[in-house]
Subunit: 320 residues, 2 copies
């Protein structure tokens, strides 16, 4: 049986799994990324984990390749470049180094682009030629599918939509120094910043008056909204409104049939999704109105990133 | 000899030409669009002009198709929808009606997308797989090429970048009702609006203090800048800065290798291009810096739109 190794490199966890042609993750594991600050040790650790996963199967698979999703990865150059949440600084020739340890077809890609490819092959993108996958976690990631293909960009860095400026340079700072950058507003972290902002703007009583920024958690904001905390409700509305402005702008770019949302912020459910739908309908140009869907990921949450990474290899193997 | 008919439908002029496989326009003509408010008469007029162009050749060509560029055209549906500058309102089934008069392969596309395809086949896009063509005339039009293909969008309306909101809904109104829409700032018309704005903000003496909005012309603004008129120079700087913010945002989307500029505003030359280059370098994310070129169209200005329209057919005929 042919299998692909899917690896998702995150700032916190590195997830590894074995994925079949239908996007089923047969075996999976993870370890803490930061425990291996040395690239060489890190890659050895990955290889060990892969070998252990394969040994754990009750059959002998054929591993046809290894797909990797990582922040700030260039698909065209096989590198990870200046990733804010990873220990390796500068330009890391990740693929070249890993290939020295394991001679197998490999691809690497920005994690959000890998997620989009996962949706295209295995998830809610299967029936679409034009959609944008959006990951709403610590940051705002995006993978763009148009004309039935993932858009790579000239240099492999397309889809950095968390850093588009929404304010003509006059807003919140992102980690990459963009003033008014989208992810400073629309992400799990952006929502927390908005909880502070709303307290600065209004006099409403709120449970968050006695919570410091570093102690704020996304789930608590959802819970507060459910309990009628008006600072939380205002924060969701503000976040959804800016997200709708961004999605209306993105629609004018590649005119996707749908936005496929995933990541922590989506777990807030109706608190973010209902105002998002309302504002998007308001902001879309008439020519697009009623034609753009908001969907949630069609992938199982826990293995979505692994399957997305594996899709990099399955995409190139049409004879499965 | 195989030839393609290229038609550019503009609010003012309708241009028609015969274009060979290398993008040479052998014969061309035009008439005033507004003289034919009735669609049926308009299409008959086009057909007459085409027949006259063909009759004027000193050889018998084979016409292999007809490509049409028009504002607000859907490539997927063959329609022109709610075009602000055309007399025909609502959704016009342009291709279907024209095909009743002339049974030949036909395609229609948004004019800026047709311009992008012209660049891809015949102009400065020939060596690129990822670029964005931008027309800076009355409005701001865009055609997006990624992965070597023109991006159509789900419904054929990709690339309406003149109507992305730059200001979180808090700026100038565009003709389609977008507050803070890009073309309200960055277009020949946007520049004129900025001449007024700068007079409202500053006390500088200026030749424009005695010119009404309706008497303002783009060439005069360039001339004034050359003469040291500080209102004109400030207006160019302001326009270039917002354009650079937009291009930095667009780069984060499909990561083009270049922006290919065309249209009236580009004729202002260094007054717009020099500050544009400066600000773009400032606004680009580090991962993109130094990798994005600003180019001017590689097509001859007078026939660029005709050749772009013809490219819709030549693109589909690889055996030329």
């Amino acid at each position: 049986m042919n299998l692909v190794v899917g690896i998702d490199i995150g700032g916190t966890k590195t997830k590894i799994g074995l994925v079949d042609k239908n996007g089923n993750c047969l075996e999976k594991t993870f370890f803490r990324t930061q425990e291996f600050p040395d690239l060489d040790n890190y890659q050895n650790k990955i290889k060990e984990e892969i070998d252990a996963l394969i040994a754990g199967l009750d059959f002998e698979p054929t591993i046809i390749g290894c797909g990797i999703g990582a922040p700030n990865a260039s698909s065209k150059r096989g590198t990870i470049e200046n990733a804010a949440n990873l220990k390796w600084k500068g330009t890391v020739p990740f693929l070249e180094k890993f290939q020295e340890k394991w001679d197998i077809p490999m691809r690497i890609m920005n994690d959000a682009s890998a997620a989009a490819l996962g949706e295209l092959l295995f998830g809610n993108g299967r029936t679409m030629t034009d959609f944008i996958a959006i990951t709403l976690g610590t940051g705002f990631g995006a993978g763009i599918v148009a004309n039935g293909q993932l858009i790579d960009g000239f240099d492999g860095f397309a889809g950095e939509l968390g850093h588009v400026d929404m304010t003509m340079g006059d807003g919140r700072l992102t980690g990459l120094g963009v003033k008014g950058g989208l992810e400073a507003y629309v992400s799990a972290t952006g929502l927390k910043r908005t909880i502070l902002y709303m307290q600065s703007q209004y006099l409403d009583e709120s449970r968050f008056r006695s919570v410091a920024f570093n102690d704020l958690h996304g789930e608590d904001i959802t819970k507060a909204a459910e309990e009628g905390d008006t600072i939380a409700i205002k924060a969701f509305d503000y976040t959804a409104k800016i997200m709708a402005q961004a999605l209306a702008n993105f629609t004018a770019f590649t005119q996707p049939e749908a936005f496929v949302l995933m990541g922590g912020l989506v777990n807030s459910g109706k608190w973010i999704l209902e105002p998002l739908e309302k504002y998007l309908d308001e902001f879309l140009l008439e020519v697009y109105r009623g034609k753009v869907k908001i969907l949630q990921s069609g992938m199982e949450g826990k293995v979505a990133a692994i399957c997305g990474a594996a899709a990099l290899i399955w995409e190139k193997n049409t004879e499965k």
